[in-house]
Chain length 369, copies 2
């Protein structure tokens, strides 16, 4: 079965919509948050645990997998799904973002970007064609075009030049992409400038992709700027294709962006913050290393049905975390992923039942308690 | 139900015996290897995983738990079982070994040992009475007497003085131990000297304990010396009580010592070596970081029924290990614990069926392939 997207229900109170993405590895209900499995693993968890937490799709990082163990190795072993023992859909990024955030000595030309590996200093050239080749070898269900992640802040001229480069690369990605492989999404750049974002949407929809993403967000800009430019750009995207906001988000960002019509998100917050001891609860977050939890026999959140909350006290979780025990990262990750998957599931249910505004008011009411 | 030990079957070909230990938290079939859960967790695994791997009993380290989170905290939260969500038996050591191997600025007197915490340098006094008090507050099913772990090599005079101190401390442990709490085991010291080991056995059996352990082994002595002194000492121990060799062992040591009549072992080898990439297979060990496994699609061991071998290739495990991914330590630990639990289970079955010698020959035949 090839890629398709259907909209099941549209909210009458907002731009929120309930949808379903079909891929060769099964369906994904949207709006969906995609946990990040950078190096062919969502840190500390097994695929079985991810499934039981309701994770429908994960993200693999092309940059990391290309450098280690190498897409050739993964391809030889039957692709990323088989390699990591995960049979649900996988979305891969293009590697572009990591080249700009992790690699050293970058040099950008029209051809592509030359960079040094953060692992061993070896030199590599990533072109639009290479980014697609790697993702196809990985066997990705949803691939992303190579783009330049425009930094923040940046002048209009810088953003414009960057946008034009990303558009040129998107064309080459589309040309080198094999239609019988996974879907291919375009990424709209343009910084915080409305005219550039509009220009990006127009150019990418002219090329034609299976879905459209907003890139260059969560790169240091104020939250209001991120929401403003998203609110401006999302309605410009064709309504019948999936809309994906990359690198977002915090719970309140997910609620706002779903209400603006976003279908997909990916974010390291659930997993990375868990490993730093920050745990999500309906009222906000708690930091498990806080001394007040030393002999607290309650769970992270009363009433939470996750394995961690059903089995362990805050005191035990604090002890594991202070002792840097491996189990700490795992139990914290289970709770946070459960929190985010439940949040997304509640939003889908609220859209289905036509009460998304009510949900949103309830969400903020819990936070302000 | 209180503590008891029954012998179910004695091997006619060796001193090996099949037994059952009854504790307030359930039964343990012997011979048994006890995985080490130093800081109230067997590193990287959940209690449910340990159960499904056939782990019957785990060891908690009194020294670590006393320092962090503190036995008072664990006691307040209902004891170690409830704290760590483990309802099968727990054996605790006395803290003595860690004071001698981890703590700084030790000062030994007849009263006890003063030491500085390896965590924050704070000063503490561990006495025989204190060691029992901590273990009772933890709610241990099997407690160990405070002893001085005699170093290797050591002169006869040093070993004799150390043995006498350990015997004096054992008496005080017995006196301060409450009979309605967990069982209490004595520890025979005496270095590599037969007369001292015999003297230790005699003194401890005069005091009277629920079981007897050999201490001061695996402290740097040659393997032959460890086996020789064990072969000498084990038959001196009263046959109707559990015999426990502490800190051992490697698979071949377990086989030899079971054949000499040992009922219990504890060892960090399965878990620590897993985290270092050393994986146990019937022919010996493999190191997963070896480059030959880069694109090896086979499991750690063909035919192994553990979750890791059923689900992942050597190539994937090598990738996770090289990338220092948390999942690496977990999957490796699952395999190694499975290996050791299966080895012990096979030995118990061989004793039951009167073919322990046959088992032993098969074990060595696989190794020499």
């Amino acid at each position: 079965m090839t890629f398709s997207f259907e909209i099941i229900h549209r909210s009458s109170e907002s731009h929120a919509r309930l949808g379903k993405i079909h891929t060769p590895h099964g369906c994904v209900e949207t709006p969906v948050l995609i946990p990040v499995g950078t190096q062919a693993t969502v840190k500390s968890l097994t695929p079985e645990e991810l499934c039981s937490l309701g994770v429908q799709i994960i993200l693999g990082n092309t940059y990391h997998l290309y450098l280690r163990p190498g897409h050739d190795v993964i391809g030889k072993l039957g692709g990323l799904h088989r390699f990591m023992h995960w049979d649900r859909p996988i979305l891969t990024d293009s590697g572009g973002y990591q080249v700009f955030s992790l690699a050293k000595l970058r040099k950008i030309s029209d051809e592509g970007v030359t960079f040094q590996s953060h692992l061993d200093g070896s030199s590599h050239l990533l072109t639009p064609e290479k980014a697609i080749e790697i993702q196809e070898v990985l066997g990705s269900d949803i691939m992303m075009c190579l783009d330049e992640c425009t930094p923040y802040p940046a002048t209009h001229a810088v953003c414009q030049a960057s946008l034009e480069l990303s558009i040129a690369w998107a064309k080459r990605c589309k040309e080198s992409h094999h239609a019988d492989r996974g879907a291919l999404f375009g990424i709209v750049q343009g910084g915080m400038f409305q005219d550039l974002r509009a220009q990006g949407v127009s150019a990418l929809t002219d090329i034609g992709f299976d879905g459209y993403a907003l890139g260059g967000l969560s790169v240091g800009e104020p939250k209001a700027a991120m929401l403003d430019i998203s609110a401006f750009t999302l309605p410009l995207l064709p309504s019948s294709f999936p809309r994906y906001v990359m690198g977002v988000g915090a719970p309140e960002d997910l609620v706002e962006l779903v209400s603006l019509g976003t279908d997909m998100f990916d974010c390291v917050i659930p997993t990375r913050n868990a490993r730093n001891g920050q745990l999500f609860v309906s009222a906000g977050t708690i930091n498990i290393c806080n001394a007040q939890y030393r002999d607290d026999e309650g769970p992270i959140e009363e009433g939470c049905s996750c394995y961690t909350c059903r089995s362990y006290s805050r005191a035990y979780l604090r002890h594991l975390f202070m002792a840097k025990e491996l189990l700490a990262y795992r139990l914290n990750t289970i709770h946070n992923i459960h929190y985010f998957m439940t949040l997304m599931s509640k939003m889908r249910e609220a859209i289905r039942q036509g009460r998304f505004d009510l949900f949103k008011r309830g969400f903020y009411a819990q936070r302000s308690r």
